[in-house]
Symmetry: C2
Subunit: 307 residues, 2 copies
Amino acid sequence: MKVGQLGEFELINRLKEILKSELIGDDTAPIKIQSESTLLLTTDTMNEGIHFLSNYLPEAVGWKAISVNVSDIVSNGGYPEWVLISLNIPEDLENSYVERLYKGIDRACRFYKCKVIGGNIAKLEKISISVFVLGRTERFVGRKGAKPGDSLFVSGTLGDSRAGLELILMNKKEYEPFELALIERHLKPTARIDYVKHIQKHANASMDISDGLLSDLWHLSERSSVKVEIFSEKLPISKELKLFCEKYGKNPIDYALVGGEDYQLLFTHPKSSWNPFLDMTEIGKISEGQGVFVDGKLAKPKGWRHF
Amino acid sequence: MKVGQLGEFELINRLKEILKSELIGDDTAPIKIQSESTLLLTTDTMNEGIHFLSNYLPEAVGWKAISVNVSDIVSNGGYPEWVLISLNIPEDLENSYVERLYKGIDRACRFYKCKVIGGNIAKLEKISISVFVLGRTERFVGRKGAKPGDSLFVSGTLGDSRAGLELILMNKKEYEPFELALIERHLKPTARIDYVKHIQKHANASMDISDGLLSDLWHLSERSSVKVEIFSEKLPISKELKLFCEKYGKNPIDYALVGGEDYQLLFTHPKSSWNPFLDMTEIGKISEGQGVFVDGKLAKPKGWRHF
């Protein structure tokens, strides 16, 4: 059935059923904050045709819409708590699409331990999902604060998401297992919620890598007023990305430097705060000065831009 | 210049300049909440072609995008504090349009005493503005809580916005002064922030009238499990709406009952809590039972639906 036939209130009822949230039903969602912790607010959007295609699994789109927002909260050292969703959809969209989208949202919220407490649905030609997340931290860690002498770290591996997107756009009939793994990393990124305590305790500066490493390093350098040096041979490359680059004649370093949407963390602290239980890699160092240098050469900011 | 030529970061810099917000610049916006008050969260969207037309003044669109959200906070007895904006725009939109939109947003935020602390900009074929507001109250008042014996009140006058919209759609070369007043009420509604203390102190149930009185009365009746009776001769009609209805042969009661987007408040409390300094009108009463009755007859929910 199309959402236009189902009607707004019936659609909302079905989504409430999926989310099992008792807080939905008033003009605002009331919440109680007991302690004096810092609240973190963020919003990010997924637009059809720009951030996802209409043939993507709606569950994955819902998962990703939550994950990219949680990634922002996590990168500043916080845990996500409350979620609002502003959903814009065409009238002739199948309501099963919306319900599957919300199943993905619900799955992500249960994984990250946050809760959808409100939202809004409106009509638009294309699907546009704006998610708002309210998180909490005992200590806010932002892009400002990187100190000369700090080492620079990233979580996980870089460049996988970009390779996954290129593979999707190849529209192949069959994919090899390593290709499917890269595609999954693009479609279903996981915010690094396992790093929250480490960031809160140790990081002097932190952000997530969403636009691409180089572009995000420039943000860090400018906000912290420091020089950032990285070494390309230290960049963490997955074995799947290596296989991809061998097969298609690409350079994995390019993918790691400018491929966006990895949703890994970029943070700085003294080398001594290294945590062997996390998949963190030291990729460079912070010193006095300005600019971003790769293997000793000044690098231009390059990466994903919305315009 | 088109936003596609200006570039994302330069556009964001100009908007930060307009908003004068130092909090913008990290993955999340950190805020400190000192007391143990209840936080109110809400989101609402304005979509081009659905909620506004491309020839509306961008300042008015920005003003309204904030006002409709503040109205939700106010209706639950709260003051707005923090605002995030998720803006979706086409690449070929003039950046002056976006700057004027943000001037309207800034003017509204200063009027309501809240602050934009973050947001996101993404590409989309049509303009879509999702606003997220975080407010605070000492006492949350929602749709549930109306008590048998309560009187039912509304703020201001009803039906003006709908008449204003119809006048805009007539696309006339010249408008009479009362017509311009109605048009202004549609384009630039004001959230009833002057009612916050009254709602907080006295109301047993409260909501804003956005979909239309009848539709919203049904929400109140269902959430409070009470019978709602109103009397059409008591509905507050502006002199401008009366002139409009005389000129075009319409019935003002219809406009007051089903015209949406008035952003007036609908609330219940004992008659004794009447406040002579507010423009409130008693339009009916709450009793045991269920359903919504107008002049003794059961009324169907009717009003604006998104689908």
